[in-house]
């Protein structure tokens, strides 16, 4: 019989799941990651992600997939995806937003600039990707840019492929921190903050379902960090 404290440590404390999938594949956390969230000395955070776990569960047991990682090139994500046997496409979408529009959200409504942005960043043949990891990038887009980007993503993703995205669950904030995301393992991410940024709009479940209405399904995971992690099936 374990004492209550020990039982609490071993007890699974997952976030609320709106639509539960099949049983996910669990791996042992890396050394030093025994809790759901660990803050390091440099201020970065390591935490578990049900969304990431579900993403890798959904594309499990298949090699040779084309995965688009929009966190920006980093050795951890590249090594993880390559070790799974996938072809990796990488770019820093938040940086691309800044390069195309600057920090002024109003610039993101300019139709010709949106077209140029899509040409620069999503100029891929139809049905190219089996998985897309958007991380938190979509929440920094204005409604016009967001709609155009999601439509373009629909085109470049294969049917039955998956998309991972994070959104702030708070409906009151107008600014949220932007992060660099590194994959630690199939259900753990290392986040390094890279400053506050204005959000383009409020992202509640209804808005997100509407945004991805053309896609097959949307699955939500609400984290303790007041974040909506979503998995969208094309």
């Amino acid at each position: 019989m374990l004492p209550e404290k020990l039982r609490a440590i071993f007890r699974k404390e997952n976030g609320a799941v709106a639509h539960s999938g099949a049983g996910p594949r669990y791996s042992s956390p890396p050394a030093g990651v025994s809790a759901r969230k660990v803050t390091k000395k440099d201020g970065s955070t390591i935490r578990q992600s049900r969304g990431l776990e579900q993403f890798f569960f959904d594309i499990r047991d298949v090699v040779g997939l084309s995965v688009l990682d929009l966190a920006g090139a980093n050795q951890d994500n590249i090594d993880f995806l390559i070790d799974l046997g996938h072809k990796v496409y990488t770019q820093d979408l938040v940086r691309s937003i800044d390069e195309a529009f600057g920090r002024d959200m109003a610039e993101q409504a300019n139709a010709s600039r949106i077209e140029y942005f899509l040409k620069q960043n999503f100029d891929y043949p139809k049905d190219t990707f089996d998985g897309v990891m958007l991380w938190d990038s979509l929440q920094f887009m204005s409604p016009a840019l967001l709609t155009a980007t999601v439509e373009r993503l629909y085109e470049v993703m294969r049917p039955k492929s998956y998309l991972l995205a994070f959104f702030s669950a708070s409906e009151r904030v107008t600014e949220v921190p932007s992060y660099l995301f590194r994959i630690v393992d199939n259900k753990t991410i290392h986040l390094t903050e890279r400053g506050m940024r204005p959000t383009g709009q409020v992202f509640n479940n209804r808005n997100l379902e509407k945004l991805f209405g053309k896609f097959g399904s949307v699955k939500f995971f609400l984290t303790r960090e007041n974040l909506r992690e979503i998995i969208v099936r094309r």
Binding site: V63, S66, A73, Q75, D83, V88, Q91
Partner: protein
């Protein structure tokens, strides 16, 4: 992510051709020795058995084929190596990579795809001389995934 100290490749070492930072080349470059590019190149660079280094002042709009490629400057074009691509801090690469191994330092900007290919098999002579060489764990992992994909 690399914690190793930042090393500046030595451009003046023996057996290395150098394109200095005041030089601009438009066309095809073929070399049978290592190449250090610190100037502007537009076209193609090919050095199949050797190493190509793009220095911090290098601005290359070219496809590069070599054994190893080290990038400290800016490259726009596809990179294909038989061994390793090394993208250092502050480097910028826009293009697709085909390689056996890759290293990207924090602070580097890369936009494109990475295709890991199976290393070419060693000549069979090694087996007759002694024990066949065992791959290191990391190489074995890449080889296995490459085989599954191809």
């Amino acid at each position: 992510m690399s914690s190793t100290p930042h090393r500046m490749p030595e451009p003046e070492s023996r057996g290395t051709a150098t394109i200095g930072k005041a030089v601009r080349v438009v066309g095809q470059i073929f070399t049978k020795e290592d190449l250090y590019v610190d100037g502007d190149v537009e076209g193609t660079i090919e050095s199949q058995e050797n190493k190509v280094t793009i220095g911090p002042n290098g601005r290359v709009q070219a496809s590069i084929r070599a054994r190893d490629v080290i990038i400290l400057g800016q490259v726009q074009g596809n990179v294909e190596t038989s061994d390793k691509v090394d993208i250092r801090k502050d480097a910028k690469l826009v293009g697709d990579i085909t390689t056996s191994r890759i290293s990207i330092e924090d602070g580097a900007l890369f936009k494109g795809s990475i295709d890991i290919k199976k290393p070419e098999p060693k000549p069979a002579v090694a087996a007759t001389v002694g024990q066949p060489a065992q791959p290191r764990p990391a190489e074995a992992s890449v080889a296995a995934t490459g085989a599954a994909r191809n």
